[in-house]
Every structure is written in C-alpha cells, then in structure tokens.
C-alpha cells in the first residue's frame, strides 16, 4: 500500500469508529443546546457580537472534546500494531485530515442549530465558511499534534488543555476577527491579509508537526 491508500484506509476506519458511537456528534449537539439555553435564559436576546463569541466558544470546546481522543482512545499495544502496518506519518496525516473534516462538519452543524435557535446574523456566507474551514484545519492540526504529545503521559486530558490552549490562541484571535467581518460587525479592507496569515500559521504548524512526529511516536 502506498501512503495515499494508507491514509484513505485510516480515514475510513476513523469514520466507522465515530459513526458506531456518534460520540463527537452527540457531544457537539449537547454543547450547542446547553450554551444557547444558558445564554438565552440569561440575556433573553443574542446580539451578533455575542453570537460571534458563542459560536467560536462552541467550536473550541467541540474541537477539544472531539480531538482529545485521537490518540488516547487506542491502547499503546494497538498503536504499535498500527505502526507496524502503516507509515507513522500516514497515521498522523490521516488523523489530521479526519479531524479537520469532522470539525468542519460539526461547525456547519452547530451553525445550523445556532441559526435555527436564534437567528443567522452571518452576512458574508462565503467568508464565514472559509473561516470555519481554515479554523477547523488550524484547530485540528494543533490539537492532533498536542494530543499525540499528551497521549504519552498519564492524565492526558488535563495535559492537553494546558498544552493546547495557549498554542491555539493566535488562531482563535484571527478567527474571531474574520467572524466579526463576516457578520459585518466591523469592516476591514485588509481582511485578506488576516486570512493569509491564518493559512500561513496552519501550514507552519502542519510542517513542524510532520517534522517532529517521527521523534514522538517511538517508545
């Protein structure tokens, strides 16, 4: 099997595992409903500014809960078995692609539910979809790599939060700004530059992860 075939096979396996339990899907729906109900009962009216903040909070926590188990859900022995079958990088890239796709779908879903429960304040749909896609990619890359690091330690969920949150803050700051632009809360003619920087951060994190992963998986 070459690398691409391996990645495709692993992607299919991840999807089957998810679909069997629907862990991430039901988790995100719970997040969306709980957040909306809480904020709605406290504020009675959700302004676009609050909507923007809420949306990215939901995506952040969805990303944490969906990705934290990437490397933790399987036992060390099973992982060793995978590394014998496939190239280690294929495993990492498959997880990153799968998490990007999963997070992108979850974001679209929570946008739908959020829009259904409140209103849809998004004025520039194309830009918002782009923000969701690049955000999913950035969060997936960073959290997948961090989860690979923290899976090596005990108590990895806490460790992942401690390691992961500072690293993804730059991505979140840019996402909130692009989101505010898509909601027309602010008009920034130079938003293209921000999108490019987000792409650059994603690519840099991706290449560093790929460079460093060979040192990580061996034990």
């Amino acid at each position: 099997m070459n690398m691409v075939q391996q990645i495709l096979r692993l992607l299919w396996r991840d999807w089957v595992l998810e679909w069997r339990t629907r862990y991430a899907l039901s988790g995100i729906l719970l997040y969306v409903f709980a957040t909306i109900v809480l904020v709605y009962s406290a504020l009675l009216d959700i302004q676009p500014q609050v909507w923007n903040a809420l949306f990215w909070i939901i995506i952040l926590f969805a990303a944490v809960s969906a990705i934290v188990k990437s490397f933790v859900q399987e036992s060390q022995q099973r992982q060793l078995y995978y590394y014998n079958l496939v190239h280690p990088l294929a495993l990492l890239i498959a997880k990153m692609i799968y998490n990007t796709g999963l997070l992108f779908l979850l974001s679209l879903l929570s946008w739908l539910v959020l829009g259904f429960l409140t209103t849809n304040p998004v004025k520039d749909t194309g830009m918002f979809v782009l923000a969701i896609f690049l955000g999913s990619m950035g969060l997936a890359i960073a959290f997948t790599f961090i989860s690979a690091i923290s899976a090596k330690a005990q108590n990895s969920a806490t460790l992942m939060a401690v390691l992961g949150f500072p690293v993804i803050i730059p991505i979140l700051l840019i996402l909130v700004k692009i989101g505010a632009n898509a909601l027309r809360l602010m008009q920034d003619t130079a938003i293209g530059g921000d999108i490019l920087i987000l792409v650059a951060i994603n690519l840099v994190l991706l290449s560093v992860s790929i460079l460093l992963y060979p040192f990580l998986w061996r034990d």
Partner: protein
Amino acid sequence: MQRLIRQHWWKALGVLILIYVFIAGMLIPLKPGITIVTPSSTRTGGELIIEVEGYNTNFDQAGDAVRMWLKMDDERSLQAKRVEVLGPTRAQAAFIIPEYLPSNQKVQDFALVVDNPVDGAAVRPNAVLVTQDSIDQELGEQTWQNDPLTDLSQRDGITFPFRNILGETIRNTYFHVSLWLAMMIIFIAAVVYSIKHLRGFNLDHDYWAAALTAVGLLLGGLGLLTGGIWAQYTWGTFWSWDIKQFTTLIALLIYLAYFVLRRAFPDEAQKARISAVYNIFAFVALIPLIYVLPRLTDSLHPGNGGNPALGGEDLDNTMRMVFYPAVIGWTLIGSWIASLMYRSSKIEEQLLENWEDSPTLD
C-alpha cells in the same frame, strides 16, 4: 562549553556591563524639553502670548538669552517679539500672528523651538494650532515676514533624548526592551539545544534546553513586569489588555506549559525527547504570537500603529551606547543562571546514579 562554564571572565563581564547599564541608564540626565504650552490654539491676526513649561531647563540662568520661534515648516518660522523668564522651567513669550498664513489649511500647526546658550535648543512639535479666519495662501506668502532660526546653541555633555509623554520613562528602553531581546536570544538557544537533543538523544542537551527555557521565562516575566510599570506611567494603567500585553502573556503561558509537560513523565529519556518536541513546536507557535498578531490590531505599544520605537530619532547614539550593552549584559547573566541550573541537573543525575548503584540499597 564544558570549559566555558567553569571560566569566570564572561560572568564578571556580564555583571560589569549591567552595573554600567544601571548607572548610566539611571543617572545620565534627559535633554531639556518642553512639556506644556498654553494656550495651545489661537486664531490669525493679533498677538499671541503663550506660557511655556520646560523640563530640565535653566531659563533663569540664561536670562535674556532665551529665544523662541514658532516654526511652520522647514523654511518659515516666526520669532517671539519678547520673552519673559518666570523661573527655571517657566517662561512667557509673545508672538505676532499675521492675518494670512502661507498655507491652504484651515488649521495650521506650529512647532515651538526654544533656544538658549545654557540648555541648547528644544523643540515641541504641534505646540500651537492656528485657525485661519479666511484662507488666502498667496497673500499669506507675500506678507509673510520670515525670521529664520539662526545660531542655535548646542548643549555640552551626554544626555538622553527628551520625548513628550515618555519623559523619564524613556530609560525603560534599557530594561524592558533589552530584557525582551535577551529573552529571544535565550529561547533560540533553548530551541537549538532541543534540536541537538533530537539529533543525538544526549541528556546533557535536554538539561541545557530546560535550563535556558527557565531563564527565558524569567527574563520574559521581568520584561512583562517592566512593561507594566512603564504602562502605569504612560498609559495610566498597569494592565490594559493591549494586544502586545495579551500575546506576551499567552507566550509565557506556552512556556509554563513546557514545565507542566516535563513533570508529567517519570522516565528521563521519554521526558527529554517529548519536551524537546514540544519546545520546538512552542517556539514556532510563538513567532506569530509575538511578531505577527500585534501588527494586525491597534496597539498603543511603541512600534505599533505609528507609535515611535527603536529607530531613527527614537534611539539616538547616546542611547545605543547603553542599549546594546544592556542586551549583551542580560544575555550573559541569563547564560550564567542557565549554566548553574545545568550543573545542578548534572549533579542531581550523578547523585541518582550513585544512589542506584550503592550496595546499601538492598
């Protein structure tokens, strides 16, 4: 490296440089400047009497030799008709503002130039705004009586530049900015050692990486603290969630997480390898945080949004003579602390080995 950490000359050099930085940075006086000009706006035609408040000036010693100009641009300026000295830092001056200015702007700004033989020349940009009742540029040019700035005095001795608002806090350049640069140098050294560790899995390199990261964190914390003290005097508050302050805090959190990570592994080799991987990853995540993001958002920090920073007039040659040694001094002291931490890790390792080998264990 092993020989170098047992030698003392560079440690002594670091201490000497820092002593020089503290003495020179704190004691060299600021150049005389102008802090307050009242009133700061007027209309064309008639006499304008302004009261000037100086900083570090000696108007009383200069007496009648104090001269003042209102400078419109590089060629045109108006000299004060009379200057009255009220005290060492206070003086009054009277100007005749013509009916028409050689300018097509409704509001024209004038810089105030004060010169006397004791203090030398001082400039206050945008000191007076003159509103024109009616605009006639050509008439203004014809009737303009130019008083060129002549025979400006030079002050002897070493001084730091005076910047409005900054005032004495300009000295923070030697502490805040140089601590920051030294931190970057130390963090880069830590990343180099992390890469070295991954290339040979030598535990010594991991000790160096950990020690240097700890020192970088210390310097970063001090940089944040000195920045906060500076902000207290210039921005009015210690912490204002300025994007620079915010991203700096996050950057330090990334490195704090490095030490949390190190504690999570009981096995030395695994700890060294994984924390080296995280250190490189964290450094890469740090670059957009410190150098890219603050440029995207409005910030009050010098160097952002048109605020002055390191460059041109803001770091003159006198300041360079203190600033660059300060960077070297902090880096040397940081390396000294790191080398002590490295040696303590080595001793710890050796003690552990001896303890494990000792026959009394069974």
